[in-house]
């Protein structure tokens, strides 16, 4: 095996299969259908009504505590005082706005496979953002590569959907992935806790874990969607090969034997298992999608499992 310097001119072969419009009429119909399903799932609740972990002023009772000086006398439960002779303060759940942020991996490793992983990821991202616009306070898509793309905008209302789709349509996969750096930048801009959905292939899992931990630490609800292509699950390669990295263009000469392929499949299975186990352990929602899976079926499954709208 021989690892050599990057070859800037040797671009990895494109495996993009989609030749037509990424978001055609059919896509929009499916989008509207998913939106209906999402609205049914929230059972008529108003948009942006998400329980906050903070206690504050709302009509929903949460707990009692003893009165301490400085508390608002209006909060004292006078009925309890009449029965018990002690002052107690009623605590209510605070209501606040909840934003949806879709962090979309736009590195070149996503521009891979047949069907193309990046196309599949963009369709899912657009669907989630549209659902967010109809059921939450706001939605936004934040593409990232080696760092977060400048100027993610919060979009409110379904009227913003075409602007959203146009921005995704013009988005190109390029560069490398640095999720940790991108999350740092994301957190510097978005200080209020939100629902953060990270769509990526999650290669370089150690850095990804650090980034996800950072999101959790700052009270964001995190959900990861791992996108894989059929090629990655069962690579149709064999023999004396020069493997070229899709992101960096670096290459290595490898003899791919049956034994090696068998070990690759075991390693890839371990890789996805590790990501899922980590997510479950950290209360992070996890879903895996193949690029040849219908995006609407996948999104519908995610919604029905209640990980995003519960």
């Amino acid at each position: 095996m021989d690892q050599s310097a990057p070859i800037p001119t040797a671009a990895p072969p494109t495996t993009r299969a989609a030749k037509g419009d990424l978001f055609d009429g059919d896509y929009l119909k499916k989008l509207e259908w998913l939106s209906l399903i999402a609205r049914q799932l929230v059972q008529g609740r108003r948009q942006a009504l998400r329980p906050s972990v903070k206690k504050g002023a709302s009509i929903e009772f949460k707990d009692f505590r003893e009165y301490s000086p400085g508390d608002d006398p209006r909060s004292v439960d006078w009925l309890a005082y009449a029965r018990l002779g002690q002052l107690y303060i009623k605590l209510f759940r605070q209501e606040e706005e909840l934003d949806l942020w879709v962090l979309l991996d736009r590195s070149r490793s996503m521009d891979f496979g047949t069907p193309n992983k990046f196309d599949h990821a963009r369709r899912i991202a657009a669907a989630l953002a549209y659902i967010g616009m109809s059921t939450m306070d706001s939605s936004s898509i934040a593409p990232f590569g080696s760092e977060l793309q400048q100027g993610p905008e919060r979009m409110r209302g379904k009227g913003e959907v075409f602007r959203l789709l146009d921005s995704l349509r013009s988005l190109k996969a390029d560069g490398t992935t640095d999720l940790e750096q991108s999350v740092k930048k994301f957190l510097s801009r978005v200080r209020r806790p939100s629902l953060a959905v990270v769509i990526s292939d999650f290669y370089g899992l150690q850095k990804a874990r650090a980034a996800l931990d950072r999101l959790r630490f700052l009270k964001h609800q995190v959900h990861v969607i791992q996108v894989v292509s059929p090629w990655e699950l069962d690579p149709p390669i064999r023999g004396e090969l020069r493997l070229v990295d899709a992101e960096t263009g670096t290459h290595a000469d490898v003899t791919v034997s049956d034994t090696m392929l068998r070990k690759y499949k075991q390693a890839f299975e371990a890789f996805t298992t590790e990501l899922r186990t980590y997510s479950m352990g950290g209360s992070i929602g996890y879903d895996l999608t193949r690029s040849d899976q219908a995006f609407d079926e996948f999104v519908k499954g995610v919604l029905q499992r209640g990980r995003l709208l519960a």
């Binding site: 095996m1 292509s229 020069r242 493997l243 070229v244 899709a246 992101e247 003899t255 070990k263």
Partner: protein
């Protein structure tokens, strides 16, 4: 070690190609992966020490070099010998006689084993040998002229077609010995079962002959004699039968005789080991057979290793009663007519004539005239009945008279007078002589007793040419003598039969019967009585000049015969479709001739193979082979093993 195919060494150049392939960098195909680090981590886990990797690559190369070397060696057909084996000129004589059709197990005949032996021989000798293939079958013939291409020799041997007749082994070896003259280090390999011992004489006569024995079985009974002759006096046939036992044990079996497909007789027999059983039997043919002829088949009802000799056929030739012309004065005819009519089937009463001397001259002229018109010159007995001409006589009896001119051919009896052409003249008269038979036996005097017969008078005979005296006076003066001059036979009696007491002794009718039976010859046949399997049938003498075609019927017992019309050129024809036993009938004009085609060869029946005193393989340098059976099989097996090892160690990463 000697390579039988040294040209294979040219392929050693492939070793250089193998090394070159390993020295050249492998042109790798490019494949994009989403994350190379993932694969590098994986490869890192499976990576072994670089030195081992190099060694493994070196091992792979060494294995491929060994594979190529083994293949080249196998292609070269190696053999190990004490001394260098020199090229030889080898003439292979393949025995293709009937005994080579012996089954040695299943459908495997000796001929097939012989072909395998030739394949074995040609593939185990050096490629520089020169080959000649000669077949010893119907006739000795070269199947493959001298060639250096062993494959051509093998193909020629494989094309030999089985022959069911007697072989021509001596002729084939003689032909081969003529063809090896002048060749370097020649030898003649005779692939045979020994031809009932003939091979010993052949090998003794020529030291260049190497005998390659074939076969092992000896269980065989065969019909080796089948001959028939008609008994004119009794109107039946005498059949001589012979069976030969080739095996080394006594065998009891049965022989079935059938005429035209109908069984006539079953003869049980017992033959001692290696012995022969012979018997003469008399068969009374079914009605009509003596007149039209028939096919007699002898079949042994016992399966054995060689089926070709289990049956034989022969022909029951038709017998024709004699036509007698009695030339006598009318007043003396009665006694002779009575004597002739008592001869039963021997004489045809319908076609026989009694005539005066004058009428004889007219009848003879008419017959001569008719014969000249048809052109059928078949002698006195030939059919030539044209128009009103009488049937020609087989025997003419002149009683007290002689013809004006004695024909040059024919059968005659002269009583009391004879022409001088017979070789005797009358020198005087003998009074009251007594007749005494010559003590030497003769067919004419068989069962005859004339001792003491008295004559009133007799003519004193003086022979002017050699004659056979059958009876004489007590002082030796000839009274009855036989003159045989070319195709003319004349029996002369020097007295008047009616002037003796000879008729009263019933002796003269018996003498006359013996004379008719002796002198009456059947139509001279156009064919031999018997032909061997594979022998060409041709007329025994030129056919009449006007003949352009003849009809030949292949007789099939009681079935309808297969008729063939054969073209005749210059009075001759050839019929060669005689590869199977059969009976044939040839029709030329109104004449019919019969012949049988049968094996009837005791040498072919004695199938017990003759052992070779020396090893043919050793004499040909075949026993010193490294791989005696399949020379390259071991090497190719090794190659398979090496390929599997190379696959496991390198391509399959067995060591990872």
């Amino acid at each position: 070690m000697t390579l039988l195919a040294p040209w294979a060494l040219w392929f050693l150049g492939a070793l250089g190609a193998v090394v070159a392939f390993y020295l050249l960098r492998i042109k790798r195909r490019e494949a994009a992966v989403p994350a190379l680090d993932f694969w590098l981590d994986l490869a890192g886990r499976t990576k072994v020490h670089t030195l081992w990797t190099r060694l493994k690559r070196l091992l792979s190369m060494l294995l491929w070099l060994a594979i190529v070397a083994c293949l080249v060696l196998a292609l070269g057909n190696p053999m190990i010998s004490a001394g260098r084996i020199k090229p030889r000129a080898i003439a292979v004589v393949i025995d293709n006689s009937a005994s080579m059709q012996t089954l040695e197990g299943g459908s495997n005949t000796r001929l097939k084993e012989a072909i395998k032996a030739v394949t074995d021989l040609t593939s185990r000798r050096p490629v520089s040998d020169e080959w000649l293939i000669v077949e010893a079958g119907r006739r000795a013939q070269v199947l493959q002229p001298w060639t250096l291409d062993a494959d051509s020799a093998r193909r020629a041997a494989e094309k030999i077609e089985a022959f069911g007749g007697a072989g021509s082994l001596e002729a084939a070896v003689q032909l081969a010995s003529q063809l090896v003259a002048g060749k370097p280090d020649p030898c003649i390999v005779v692939v045979s079962d020994g031809a009932a011992g003939k091979i010993a004489q052949i090998a003794q006569a020529d030291p260049r002959v190497i005998y390659w024995p074939i076969g092992a079985k000896d269980d065989n009974l065969g019909v080796t004699r089948l001959a028939v002759r008609p008994d004119l006096r009794r109107g039946n046939y005498q059949v001589l039968l012979g069976v030969t036992n080739a095996s080394s044990q006594r065998i009891e079996s049965k022989l079935t005789l059938s005429i035209d497909g109908s069984p006539q007789s079953i003869e049980p027999f017992a033959v001692e080991a290696k012995g022969t059983w012979e018997k003469t039997i008399v068969i009374d043919p079914p009605a009509g057979v003596p007149a039209r002829g028939g096919v007699l088949k002898a079949t042994i009802e016992r399966p054995d290793a060689l089926a070709a000799d289990n049956e034989a056929v022969t022909v029951l030739e038709p017998t024709r009663p004699a036509v007698i012309w009695l030339v006598t004065p009318s007043e003396n005819a009665y006694f002779f007519e009575q004597a002739l009519s008592a001869m039963g089937p021997l004489v045809s009463p319908e076609q026989s004539l009694t005539m005066t001397p004058e009428k004889y001259e007219q009848a003879a002229a008419a017959v001569l005239n008719a014969a000249s018109k048809t052109g059928a010159g078949s002698g006195s007995g030939a059919d030539g009945n044209v128009g009103t001409a009488p049937k020609p006589a087989d025997l003419v009896i002149f009683n007290g008279c002689t013809p004006r001119a004695l024909p040059s051919s024919g059968r005659f009896v002269f009583i009391g007078a004879w022409p001088k052409e017979v070789g005797a003249v009358v020198a005087g008269k003998l009074d009251a002589p007594q007749v005494f038979l010559d003590p030497r036996p003769h067919p004419l005097t068989e069962h005859l007793s004339l001792q003491g017969a008295r004559l009133i008078s007799a003519k004193q005979v003086t022979a002017t040419a050699p004659v056979r005296v059958l009876a004489a006076t007590d002082d030796g003066k000839p009274l009855i003598f036989l003159s045989e001059q070319g195709d003319r036979q004349s029996l002369c009696l020097g007295f008047d039969v009616l002037e003796s007491d000879l008729p009263l002794r019933n002796a003269f009718p018996l003498l006359l019967r013996n004379t008719v039976a002796y002198m009456h010859t059947q139509t001279q046949p156009w064919l031999q009585t018997r032909y061997a399997i594979g022998e060409t049938i041709a007329p025994a003498r030129p056919l009449p000049p006007a003949t352009t075609s003849v009809t030949l019927d292949v007789l099939r017992g009681g079935a309808k015969p297969e008729t063939k019309t054969i073209e005749v050129r210059d009075g001759r024809f050839v019929y060669a479709d005689t590869l199977a036993g059969q009976a044939v009938r040839l029709t030329v004009g109104e004449d019919e001739s019969f012949a049988a085609v049968s094996l009837l060869d005791s040498d072919e029946t004695r199938i017990a193979p003759v052992p070779s005193p020396t090893s043919a393989a050793e004499a040909l340098g075949l026993s010193r082979r490294l791989f005696a059976v399949v020379p390259w099989a071991g090497l190719t097996g090794l190659v398979t093993l090496l390929v599997a090892l190379e696959w496991l160690t390198y391509h399959k990463r067995w060591t990872e």
